[in-house]
């Protein structure tokens, strides 16, 4: 799976890299017993997909703040969308990260 993607454009490569980083962060933070490749980027993180819950969302928020240097906020009521899938979460991190 992790074979070289050198022929793919740089930004796609960055996204894949960040997506993997985010997946690893989820796995490490929540002590999940799975590999990065077990997470389908489009699968729901909550509910039937990875069965994450609100405690997990808060745990993840702490880890994201520490690793990517920004605070999550819910004033735009976008929470549900941000945490919908690995892909949406990665997108949100890409837009907001400061480190």
């Amino acid at each position: 799976m992790n074979q070289s993607n050198t022929h793919i454009k740089q930004n796609v490569q960055n996204n894949v890299k960040l997506e993997n980083q985010t997946a690893q962060l989820i796995i490490d933070t929540l002590n999940l017993d799975i590999e990065i490749t077990d997470i389908n980027p489009e699968d729901h993180l909550f509910g039937e997909g990875l069965a994450l819950d609100s405690i997990d969302a808060l745990e993840l928020a702490m880890a994201i703040t520490q690793q990517f240097g920004f605070q999550l906020r819910s004033d735009d009521s976008n929470n549900r969308e941000i945490f919908r899938s690995l892909r949406t979460l990665t997108q949100y991190i890409a837009e907001n990260k400061t480190k």
């Binding site: 077990d38 509910g47 702490m62 906020r73 819910s74």
Partner: protein
């Protein structure tokens, strides 16, 4: 023997111009709140039961006051799933649901009425309303008979059916009175205490939870706190709410003191992300035991006292402690404790439940003081929500793909490390499930990931997200003993075997 009924006020320590709720950047005072309740009361048809789903506390408060005014009973189920809604509609006559109309819970609304207070308020024409006199305003919600049933709050029970607990008006006012006496004695906005400080409440927990109802809602009504309408989730949300309150106070040339009503998890999140909490005066924590190291960090970082409340849905708030000072809990004045035998400790109270057995294992020091030792085996407590393994098992076992199944609770209490903020592991327990398929031969063919999804979707019909098994193990059989019971030790062994396989 007959005794004269006693009537207790809804707003005990407020005047009509007392600030009650901070909503959308402004303060709504008691007179305006009452006038709004009066307006809404005309629009809501007569009913017996009210299901108030609002998270925004302004709307919740309006709904709660409407129920008190119209003498209906507010229902607070421990979870809102389609299954629970169907059951409530079946069991409680003339049920009205208060909720934002686009709420996902209302997809199957059927014949029952859902009312969005926001919509009704949008249609309101203030200029055409008659201005009520002081006397008229005070008579909108008359004093309530102490023994009147005002709330039914549910625990998940142990047989698959939610268990209702009726709260009389006195139950709610008594808890508020004693909480205020023991935890907030120097910080209420009493009418006579008309100084330069505004005492406010901000809560990260739902109003529908017993702890949230008693602290955020009842303390506001009975003790004259200013309640922030939001329920912040992320640490930064808490900061924003506090900043908004501070700005308001600044404009009024007053100082603000905020009590943050929250959970150990949120306290941990504040410390870990190192957010600023301007104006914080005191933290109140409940729903799970708070580690003293974390309490210590909060007290130092924010120069604010950290108090813990111990309680349960059945009785309500029962005891408190200042975590950094003592591991002992002291009961509120309307509670006393008595040991029935070596294992069972009875709670006696002047509240309507009168007596109740502790769900937890405790060491009784005397009638007023105890130390918490752990919880009884069947109980599951995640993020302040309680359920029992029997309840969860009941629903898992009805999944038609499965021949046998059970939940298993893994204790994740980690050693506290005394290092730079990195001291605390995942504090909550974790749930996993063991399942036996109808046809064990299927084990070779099925896609475990798909089956896991299928089982979780099934469970979501009746149990809340938070109780979904984090992991599902497919096994050939469960280690049931001769009486069909599942000894915890055997399940622990099974888990170790399974984890080795992977």
């Amino acid at each position: 023997m007959t005794t004269e009924p006693v009537f207790l006020p809804v707003f005990k320590d407020s005047s009509l111009d007392s600030p009650i709720v901070f909503f959308q950047g402004r303060v709504i005072c008691l007179a305006e709140l009452l006038q709004t309740v009066d307006y809404l009361a005309d629009k809501i048809p007569a009913h017996q039961h009210l299901l108030n789903l609002y998270e925004e506390r302004y709307y919740f408060l309006l709904g709660f006051l409407l129920a008190l005014k119209q003498q209906s009973i507010s229902l607070f189920p421990s979870t809102i799933t389609p299954h629970v809604l169907t059951q409530l509609r079946k069991n409680y006559a003339e049920l009205i649901v208060l909720s934002e109309i686009d709420s996902e819970h209302e997809q199957s609304s059927g014949s029952n009425q859902t009312i969005d207070l926001k919509e009704l308020l949008d249609k309101r024409n203030l200029s055409s309303e008659k201005k009520l006199s002081e006397q008229e305003l005070w008579s909108i919600i008359p004093d309530i008979e102490a023994q009147r049933n005002t709330v039914i709050i549910f625990t998940s029970g142990s047989t698959g059916q939610p268990k209702p607990y009726i709260k009389q008006w006195y139950d709610l006012t008594s808890a508020a009175e004693h909480l205020s006496h023991d935890l907030f004695s120097d910080s209420c906005n009493h009418i006579e205490n008309n100084n330069n400080t505004i005492s406010a409440l901000l809560a990260t927990i739902p109003s529908q939870h017993m702890y949230g109802l008693e602290t955020s809602i009842m303390l506001t009504l009975q003790k004259g706190f200013l309640l922030h309408s939001h329920k912040p989730f992320f640490p930064q949300d808490i900061t924003q709410c506090l900043e908004a309150l501070a700005q308001y106070a600044h404009k009024k040339n007053k100082t603000i003191e905020v009590n943050l009503i929250t959970t150990p998890l949120h306290l941990k999140a504040c410390i870990k992300t190192d957010v600023a909490l301007p104006g914080i005066k005191q933290f109140i924590s409940a729903t799970a035991p708070l580690q003293s190291e974390l309490a210590q960090l909060c007290e130092q970082r924010y120069t604010a006292r950290v108090m813990e409340i111990f309680g349960c849905t059945e009785v309500g708030s029962m005891a408190y402690r200042q975590t950094i000072k003592t591991e002992q809990w002291t009961v509120l004045e309307d509670i006393s404790l008595k040991a029935l035998n070596e294992h069972d400790i009875q709670i006696n109270t002047t509240r309507s439940i009168q007596t109740f057995l502790f769900n937890d294992i405790i060491e009784l020091l005397d009638e007023q003081n105890f130390i918490l030792k752990g919880r009884k085996e069947d109980l599951v407590n995640l993020a302040g929500k309680r359920t029992s393994l029997s309840y969860l098992n009941h629903h898992l076992q009805t999944c038609e793909e499965l021949r046998d199944a059970c939940f298993y609770q893994i204790s994740c209490f980690k050693e506290v490390k005394d290092q730079s903020n990195n001291f605390i592991g995942r504090k909550e327990d974790q749930l996993v499930a063991f399942v036996v398929l109808n046809n064990p031969n299927d084990m070779i063919h099925i896609n475990k990931q798909q089956m896991t999804k299928k089982i979780r979707i099934w469970l979501l019909q009746s149990i809340e997200n938070i109780f979904l098994p984090k992991k599902i193990y497919f096994v050939d059989s469960l280690p049931r003993n001769a009486t069909g019971k599942l000894p915890q030790a055997e399940l622990k062994k099974l888990l170790q075997q399974q984890d080795k396989k992977i």
